[in-house]
Amino acid sequence: MPVKLPWLKGVFPALVTPFVKKTEEVDEEAYRLLIRSCLPHVDGLVTSGTTGEFPYLTRDEQRRLVEIALEEAGGKPVIAGCGASSTQEALTLARDAQAAGASAALVVTPFFLHPSDKGVYQHFYDIATGVDLPIILYNIPQVVDRYLPRTVVQDLADLPTVVALKDSSGNLTYTMELLEYAGDRIDFFVGHDEVVLPALAGGVSGMILASAQVYPDVWQQVFRLVAEGELDEARALQRSVQKLSRIFCRHGGGVAVKAALQLMGLDVGVPRRPLKPVGGALLHETRAEIRLELEKLGKIPVPEARFEVPTGPLAGRFADLEITPDVIAAHGLRTGSGAAGEGLNRVQIDLIAGGKRTPLGDAYALQLTYPLHGREALTAILEPALTVRPPTLLLPALPQKNLRQANMIYGPTQAALARAIVDALEAGRIPPAAVEEDVMVALATVHPRALDRHALYHSVHAAAGRALAQAFPGTTDQEEGHHGLQD
């Protein structure tokens, strides 16, 4: 009967492997700094796991990572990732880890060629019996393309040196089934950041996580709270990191973790090719989202940003379009303004509408050659290929300084403005002649620190509705009737 290891519990970060830009060499100094930053909150370290890009590392590099981790760990256990496609190579890595002094080996299901269940068993059996080191089985079907079969795990758990299984699938039905069949003999670790709390509550002993090097403090608290039975507090903490955890699990993996560390001032360099630091699995847009979430968590400072809405007479707010109060009067342009929302979701929409042959037509065309840097106009659309009528441009009133601010405009604000316009069309508020003859421009003032797309959508929809009602007062006002213009 195998003996459970007393140290095998708690929070373990699956460390990224820092690489120097251009050369892609391992950056040992950065690795040390990374370990020092998370060490106070963790119970041990994991080198060259999936987050550590193990398939891109040589044998020598993996051994070196173990050595550095041991030097920096201050006596805490170091689990060495020993994953390989072939049994021979995995065994070699495990022997290296043993020689270096690692506490255990984390061995992933053999990948690429798909061995049978018998082949998978043999793989782990050969390693468990070929090296004098505790073995942690590692299930991660997202990259291996198969689950470690339950019946194989059930048998492997009989081997004295197989001590645990790390389940990164996030599939709790699988975890629960394994706990049922092997929980008496081996420990379980959750490896999926999105389901840490339910897995802990379900009976796993700890976690090996990508995000445990970004917010190890949060996970340490979750671990402690669950142990103490304080589930409400643990739930709130899990929820506070849910979105970031989701981004790490589903939108970029180790690359996203590197981006987060970078934003926090830890220069862990680039991933190895073919992975791209950004623009591949991790989109620019998602990186902007990571920044926003780290701000919320207090991991990085929130930049100062002033929210000033245009004030003064409405007719005077369209100077950027070269539309003066005199022009408005001379050409009978319609204007309307509306505001809605509270706090960061406060929005003001200043709208101007008028004939294509008026100076507004010229302003419309000119805006699409983008004279206002950082305030590029965009067409109001319900979704791509659903352009509203009359044609309407959305012009941000405040300069967009970063992608995170742009994310609030391109999408939520754009679609909400479009929806308000189509609602006005349906209500018969906008006269049919205007649909053909007019254009509109909406100046949108959105808080530079807005971060809730859903709330923002509703603010913009309400504000734009008010602006439209003012610009097209009582044309027919059938808002209750929802008549189309064709009726």
């Binding site: 591949g280 699409l368 983008y370 791509p384």
Partner: protein, 491 residues
Amino acid sequence: MGYKTEWFKGIFPALVTPFTTHDTLDEAAYRQLIRFVLPHVDGVVPCGTTGEFSYLTPEERKRAIAVCLDEVAGRVPVIAGTGCPSTRETVALTGWAQGAGVTAALVVAPYFLKPTFNEVYDHFRAVDQVGLPFVLYNIPQCAGTHFRWWTAEGMLLDFDHTIGIKDSSGDLPFMEAMFEKVKGRVAIFVGHDEVVQPALAAGADGAILASANLIPDVWQRVYRATLAGDLETAQRWQQRVQKLVRIVVRCGSTQAVKEGLGMMGLPVGHSRHPVVPGGAFRREDRDELRLQLELAGVDKIPKAPVTFDLGRKQVQTEVFATPQTPRTISGFTLKVGEGFAGPPFTELAHVDLLLGLKDGPVGRAIERALAGWGEERGLRIINERPRTLLVPTVTLRTARQRRLFEHAAEGVNLAIRLSVEDGFLPEGILDEVALIVNAFVHPAASIAKRVDFNNYKATRYAIRKALEGRPTVEELIDEKAAARHPFRYAP
């Protein structure tokens, strides 16, 4: 034991079921559709997957089958879709169809709850006892279960009334297994439009297809050429319609076929909810399907004369016109069109296009931009007839972004050239109007060919949308509730 009939071969359209604006069966449109396909087909299939059988009440299915039988009047075989999730209902409807006089039934694998293969076998054994010849129907994309080859083999050989199998999976290894087991003893039909020619070449007896509503003549050419051993001709026609049928198969076949027929002047209404316009069959797919239906040899959308009224001048042109194309187009002060094409995400194209008179807002904006910030912001004239200003939506910062934007420019220019050729930008307006094309290239774009081609597509769609005034207010109101801007949501 199943058997092979003389008549079950060739091209069979899986007919769409036309609906009126009140969502009832449109019998007149159904008859018109049948009259359109009949000269080119070897039989018809009412109430198949493309016929939205799963959205019809039993009474509606019976009515559609009855109308189809009446219109066909014995000229070709009628194979009616009678499959239901439960055995009880399937047997009842198949029995009714036998009495109504259908030639055979097409019976889909029982779906939603996923019966095991022996439950599937017994389901079809019950259908066999009805006594009507029937065709097994494998469509794992919808039914959720893929026939095991041994189940299909057993059903085809053990039962008395099986005359064949329709395989819509597109899984050619499965089809080859069917050839190995049952070829010559029952008919094997392909039901996946993207692999018709290879399946026929490999030995399939015929095809039951969604796209055979639109292009029955093309499929007949593929079939005949294959029979004659002229593989080269068969391949050429398959390849000519490959994009067309990929759109049909992958983008919600019923709505795609229905909108295609609508553009061809055969109005059959929309699919029933929850299928919606602009859903799986996206707006950009409709624009692309239209272009594919116009292709030489396919020739499904006729040209019609259209007058461009520039105010001071009238220009006559001929364009591929759908019922939505106005026969007189005016308002050339400023026209707005938007085009979108993707995937992939980082190579998608989004184009805001302005078309207007040179001495109007568009022409004036171009000259002001060039004189002012043009060079600094990377704006440039990429065409003189019509005078076209290309504007990058996102500031070009790196050499790589500038290189890829060149590919976008090539795509935009191709769209303009082809629009000049197809009449949407007629010679008579080329010196009168100007274009502003504001094109988005994602900063992380990689694949130059896709950037080029997606910008071509987006611009080509945008030109037509600007001229035809699409989307219409009616479409906007119809689609506003379900519209989902992809950037509205957090990751």
